[in-house]
Symmetry: C2
Subunit: 149 residues, 2 copies
């Protein structure tokens, strides 16, 4: 028994840590606020890279690299805040009804963003231009399918 109890506690802790991501938030409003905040911050840095890629802002390699570094962190964050029981905000019910499709879109966006981050980090405008389009397209595809206007 002395040996079993610690083992059970370890198992219980592991289960707690492996709890659904939604459990990271005290209430569903926090999850909604978190994902909206993370997506908005992300969109600003994404947009600054886009402005340079599209010639609407002067290209500056250092600024591109700084925005890419922030984007690299931000693209990982919103998804854990779409857990079960956190329906609402601008998210369509399809996020939860078609989870596999939503995850596929989110994964595609993250993959394209990783390419954009890598391109921006090279400091080469041509590479930034090449990578921006597909990344922006993957934003839009997910918004069209899963976000209310």
């Amino acid at each position: 028994m002395k040996k079993i109890l610690p083992a059970l506690l370890v198992a219980a802790s592991a289960a707690l840590l492996a709890a659904p991501a939604s459990a990271q938030f005290a209430k569903s409003e926090d999850a909604i606020k978190y994902r909206q905040g993370a997506l908005f911050v992300m969109s600003q840095h994404f947009g600054r890279l886009g402005a340079m890629a599209n010639g609407k802002a002067p290209f500056d390699a250092k600024v591109a690299q700084e925005n890419a570094a922030v984007l690299e962190t931000m693209v990982k964050l919103p998804w854990a805040a779409f857990g079960d029981g956190t329906e609402g905000g601008k998210a369509k019910p399809e996020v939860w009804k078609e989870k596999a499709k939503f995850t596929e879109h989110a994964d595609k966006f993250q993959a394209e963003s990783a390419k954009l981050v890598a391109a921006a980090k090279t400091g080469d405008l041509a590479q930034l231009k090449n990578a921006f389009g597909p990344a922006a397209q993957s934003c839009k595809a997910c918004h069209d399918a899963f976000r209310n206007r």
Copy 2:
């Protein structure tokens, strides 16, 4: 003249890039939304470190390190969104009236957070506990002085 014009254009571009941080936002509402989003996302990761530091959540070195990595990026973000002309949201007018004091608080918070991030990255709970208090205190000090309830 042929030589002066490009030089002027370079100077103009440099001035544009050195424009106040508020100019990074298309409108002041965007700056407010950005800083509120960044601060909220930050607070969630900060709070998860706090829960472990205070024994309200089981300590897991990997989870602490993951939250610290996000915090490291997030602590840099909100400040550029408090530029001139972006008054509003929960921010008191003192943010703009007492800029030096606000910057001092923001710098103090960032310095304490850097220590918290470093402590969390060691994977040592004792270090996390030591660093959390001063970091949390620096959040509160800034909120007390500069945020409306």
